[in-house]
Symmetry: C2
Subunit: 201 residues, 2 copies
Amino acid sequence: MKVSVILGHPYEESFNHAIAGMVVDTLKANGHDVRFHDLYGERFDPLLQGEELVTDQSDDPLVRSHCTEIREADGIVIIHPNWWGQPPAILKGWVDRVLREKIAYEFASDDDGSGLPIGLLKAKTAVVFNTSNTPEERENNVFGDPLERIWKDCVFDFCGVTGYNRRMFRTIAGSSPKERQGWLDEVKDTVCRYFPQDGIV
Amino acid sequence: MKVSVILGHPYEESFNHAIAGMVVDTLKANGHDVRFHDLYGERFDPLLQGEELVTDQSDDPLVRSHCTEIREADGIVIIHPNWWGQPPAILKGWVDRVLREKIAYEFASDDDGSGLPIGLLKAKTAVVFNTSNTPEERENNVFGDPLERIWKDCVFDFCGVTGYNRRMFRTIAGSSPKERQGWLDEVKDTVCRYFPQDGIV
């Protein structure tokens, strides 16, 4: 399977980078064709400009290559910290610019854009890994965990990716090396569950 | 009152820009000290980099000036379209970089960052204007309107701004000039309600 892995975290020593490393290693060990993008590392420009918004065309070669790739992906893995109940700006910009109309979704020809979208992504499975410093009870009761609706309903279901799974590791602040190792083991198990050895279903 | 107005939309002919124009004109007519920021127009860089994340210090003069200003603001107005149940990346980056720890919130000295924040913004009132192409019923039932929790709970309540109000204009696609004029009248009324003539309470 072709699996796109998208990481949005600025600090190379972060636990998010460790998660990404485990995801990529496990996918490769399982025989998948992995396309890994550290958005900060590749200097992805998150700003959707006016002309790109109006024309639905991008002149940015990196954006164009992301668009081609995400249409071909059989699976998608997203990794980012919970910043204000949302992804970091660089990953939000990846959504804004890459998951554009005609690439990730479209509307019927007689629709002005306020009707029901038709998802165009062929990926069957999306897995989201998040890190957070907010305890689970507070996340659910005080903030309502916006990331769940954002990724599940606003993004993946909208684009036709119905196999959705998400895991939030918390709290990162104050976690022990042993706890982090346990979380990385869980990352490996999760990847193996949703993206088993290629050819074995 | 000092009122900061933050606009996140790339297209100068957008209805978001028209909303911003009405907000600024009304605030000025009411005698307020308005600080208006068209984030695209001022080329705001939304990327929180690793060093800035770790040190909680920014070398970017524009970010530093935003930080100073938002601490002084008595009121805040945010204007943006609903893109994927979230703000555009440029405005998400303004939140990431400007509403930082020690500027907009802090934790008690014995807290590792997983405890309860103490809001530091002195603004009493925040007003959010959104535009959307999603009908209200679909927004609430299918997507769960993540923007409400994001701005109300994740951002403003977190930073100590308890007077929160939000209005989503929809659907923009297919709206008539008369409908848009009615919405702009409503923007004016809303601004006058929450930011009446200075000195008159």
